[in-house]
Symmetry: C2
Subunit: 428 residues, 2 copies
C-alpha cells in the first residue's frame, strides 16, 4: 500500500464536498489501486467557522505554508473559492517548487499566470491539473487532451458563466429585469455579493483564456481582450430575439485564425443551436475540430458537487500516474507548445440591432439606404413598440467591420437614428 497525502488550500463549499468524496471513496481507491488517500493539513482562514461537514479529525491550520511546506504532503488541492486571488499564485508556485503536484480550481490564477505556472511545473516535473477551472463538472481538460490528437481546434463557442446564464434564463422565462434576476441569483447562492467578476464577463474571460491556451495552444494577455459586459442586456431584447427564433446567451467565442479572434458578451443564437437549451446554472462548450467536426459538452457550470467531482477525477488521475511513475505524458501533451500571442482580430458576424427613430414617415427608407450605401446587407427590418415617443426598430444585418460601423453610427446620428444595442447572432 502506498500512502498519498493530500493537503488542502481552503475548505469552502467545494473543498468540503471534495473531502466528502475522498472519504466516501477511500476504501474503493485503496482496494482498486492499492493507494491510500490520506487527508493532510487544511488551510482555512477561520478554524472556528461552522462548516457543512464534520471537521472531526481534520488538521485545520490558519497558515497556508503549513500545508504547502509539509514534507509528507504529495498533492495540494487548491479550493480557495471565487476566481482566485493573488495569494493563490504564490501558494501554487511555492507548492510546485516544493515538489508537489497541484489540483487547481482557481481560473483567474491560471488565466493570468498560466505560462509562468506551466513553465515552472515543467521544470520541476510537477503535475498541475485544472479541470475544475472551466465548465464545472464538464471534463474540459480531459476532453481537449484526449479527443483532438490528429486535428486542429478551429473554434470554441461556450456558455461559461453559470451566474450570467442563470440570470439570462430568469429574464427570458419570467420577464425579470437584469437587476431583479441578479437579486434572485444572489438569494439562491448563484451569484456572489459582489457579482462584478461574473456579470461583467471577467469569469468567462478567464475561462476562455484557459480554453484557448490548451485547445489552440495560444495564450494572450488578458488585458488585450475586449469584452461587452454580460450585464448589457434587456428583457426587451430577449423578447425580440425569441420572436425571431433566437435566444440571447452570455457567450464566449474564440476562433483559431491567423490572428486569434475573441468575442465575449451577449449574443443571439438560433433556437435550434445545440447550445440554445443551456439554461440556469448549466454550461455548454462547443468545439469545432478539423476532423471531428462539431463536438459539444454540457454540464453544470457551478455548484460544489460537480466542481468537487471534477477535482476528484483530477486527483485520482494523479494517483494513478504517480503509481506508474514519471510525469503525466498526457498532461505534458497539454502543456507543450503553448505560446504567447500578441495580435487579436476583431470578431465579425451577422448583427442584431435595436435602434429607435422619431416617428416620422420615411425613416425606414433612410435606414435602409444608409445600410445599403455602406454595403451592409439587411436581412430583416421589423417595427417594434414605441419607447418614449420613438419608434423601435429591430434589424438583422450582415457583418460590419469596425470602420464601417463608426461611419454608419455617424450617419444614423445625423438622421436621428439612435442605436440602443448591437449584438452578433449565430445560426444553427
Amino acid at each position: 500500500v502506498k500512502t498519498i497525502r493530500v493537503g488542502f488550500l481552503g475548505l469552502g463549499v467545494v473543498g468540503a464536498e471534495l473531502v466528502n468524496i475522498i472519504r466516501a471513496n477511500r476504501e474503493r481507491i485503496l482496494s482498486k489501486y492499492d493507494i491510500d488517500i490520506e487527508l493532510g493539513k487544511i488551510f482555512v482562514r477561520d478554524p472556528d467557522k461552522k462548516r457543512s461537514i464534520d471537521t472531526e479529525g481534520l488538521q485545520l491550520t490558519t497558515s497556508a505554508h503549513d500545508v504547502i511546506d509539509d514534507r509528507d504532503t504529495d498533492i495540494i488541492c487548491e479550493c480557495v473559492g471565487g476566481a482566485g486571488t493573488e495569494g493563490t499564485r504564490e501558494y501554487i508556485i511555492r507548492a510546485i517548487k516544493n515538489g508537489k503536484s497541484v489540483v487547481l480550481s482557481s481560473k483567474k490564477v491560471l488565466a493570468l499566470h498560466g505560462m509562468e505556472i506551466l513553465e515552472l511545473a515543467r521544470s520541476y516535473d510537477a503535475t498541475v491539473k485544472f479541470d475544475a477551472t472551466v465548465g464545472g463538472g464538464i471534463p474540459v481538460a480531459k476532453i481537449i487532451k484526449e479527443c483532438f490528437k490528429g486535428e486542429e481546434i478551429k473554434k470554441v463557442v461556450g456558455i461559461l458563466n453559470a451566474t450570467s446564464n442563470f440570470i439570462y434564463s430568469k429574464m427570458e422565462k419570467e420577464g425579470l429585469s437584469f437587476e431583479a434576476a441578479l437579486k434572485n441569483a444572489q438569494e439562491l447562492g448563484y451569484a456572489e455579493n459582489d457579482p462584478t467578476e461574473d456579470i461583467e464577463g471577467f469569469d468567462a474571460l478567464y475561462k476562455a483564456i484557459i480554453l484557448v491556451m490548451f485547445s489552440m495552444k495560444k495564450w494572450v494577455d488578458i488585458k488585450k481582450v475586449k469584452m461587452t459586459p454580460f450585464s448589457k442586456i434587456s428583457v426587451r431584447d430577449m423578447k425580440y430575439a425569441n420572436e425571431l427564433g433566437y435566444q440571447i446567451k452570455p457567450l464566449v467565442i474564440a476562433e483559431n485564425k491567423e490572428k486569434l479572434v475573441y468575442r465575449i458578451g451577449p449574443c443571439l443564437i438560433k433556437d435550434s443551436h445545440i447550445a440554445a437549451n443551456t439554461f440556469n446554472n448549466y454550461n455548454m462548450i462547443v468545439f469545432e475540430g478539423s476532423n471531428s467536426g462539431i463536438l459539444g459538452f454540457y454540464g453544470q457550470g457551478a455548484g460544489s458537487k460537480p466542481t468537487a467531482s471534477a477535482m476528484f477525477d483530477d486527483l485520482v488521475g494523479m494517483l494513478i500516474q504517480q503509481q506508474e511513475g514519471g510525469p503525466d505524458p498526457v498532461s505534458s501533451e497539454l502543456y507543450n507548445g503553448i505560446h504567447a500571442v500578441d495580435e487579436l482580430q476583431e470578431y465579425e458576424n451577422n448583427l442584431y440591432w435595436r435602434i429607435s427613430v422619431e416617428n416620422k414617415i420615411g425613416k425606414f427608407a433612410a435606414i435602409a439606404s444608409i445600410l445599403a450605401n455602406n454595403a451592409v446587407n439587411m436581412e430583416k427590418i421589423i417595427q417594434k413598440d414605441e419607447v418614449e415617443d420613438r419608434m423601435g426598430i429591430v434589424l438583422l444585418t450582415s457583418s460590419v467591420d469596425p470602420e464601417t460601423m463608426s461611419r454608419i453610427t455617424g450617419q444614423f446620428q445625423d438622421s436621428g437614428v439612435k442605436i440602443h444595442i448591437v449584438m452578433p447572432f449565430l445560426g444553427e
Copy 2:
C-alpha cells in the same frame, strides 16, 4: 525511435480516412513521442476496388490472417464497417491471442461478445479500445473512464443512431413520410441499402449495451432487451408532438436501478431538453452522475472523418501507453467489475397516446373515465383531425404499468377506442 506497426482489417471509408490521418500526423507523432507509426498489412476483400485514397505503397492482402498473424504488427485497427460480422469476432480473438492490441470500430461484436473479448484481453494483457463503436466522434469511452471516478452513473439517455435521427429530422422539418425520408437518407449515404439494423433499432441497442456495460458495469444478453422499432413513427405524431412543445427522437434510455431498465424506441422529449436540438446525423449522450449531475456530449454519430478521428485518438493513446510500458491502467479500470446481469425491469414514464374513436357524443367522457378507473392521471386530452371517419385524440398521461396497460387496452377496445401509438415523453 520506436517503431509501432499498425495493421488494418478493412479499408472502407473509415479505414481510408484513418490511413489519411496517420499519414498526415506521422511526422508530428514521431517528433512528439519518438514513435514511428508504420502502416502494416491491410486486409481487404477486393484489392482492385477503387478507393478514395492513394493505395500506392500500402500492403493490401485478401487474407485477414496475413494481418492478424503478422509478427511485426503491434496494433490492429478493425475497420470492417457496418455493425460488424461474426468473422470480426474471430479476427479480434485471434489478434488478442497473438498478443496484439486492438482498436475496435464494430459495435455489434463488442455488444454481443463484450464479456468474452474483455476477459481474453485481460488474460493476454492486451489493450482493446473501442471509442469509435459508440457516438462516432464523441469520446464516450474516454469520458466514462475519466469523469465519474467517485460516483455512480444512474441514467443514460442517448440519440445513438445517426440514420434514424437523420430520417426523423427530415420528417419533422420537411414533412416527409418515414419511407421517403429513408430513401433520401440512402441517396445521401446516411443509410445502408439494407437499413434494418439502423431503423429497427439494433444499432442503437448494440451501442446501448456497450454504454451500459462500461458506465454501469452491467452487461446483458442482447436478446433479453425489448425494443420498439424506430420505424414505428408517423409525420402525424411528429406534428402533434411539436404542437405540444415536444419533439420525437429515436431514443435510448437506460437506468441503473436494482434491475436494469432499458427503453429503445421513439420517444417525445421537450423542446427545451438538452438533446432536443440534436438533428440530422448528430448524436447526443446524456449521463446522470450522482455527483456530476447531468453531463451531455454531442457530436457527429456517423461519418468517416469523426469515426476515424476517434480511432486515431485511441491509437495514439495506445502508443503512449506502450511507450510507458505495461497495460493501460485506465482501460483496465474500464474493464474491471463488469458482470452479466439477467433481470431487466420495464421502463415506466409519462405517456403520449394517439387514439381514435367513432365520432360520437360522450366519447371523451368514456375515455376519461376508463383512465380514471385505472388510476391513470390525464394531463391533457386534445381533439385532432379526423382520420377515416374517426376522430383523432391525443392524450398525455402519467405512467402505466404493463398490467394496467393491458386492462386499459381491453376496455378501450370494448368502447370502440383504437390505440394507434403509445410513446413515453420526457420533460426538461
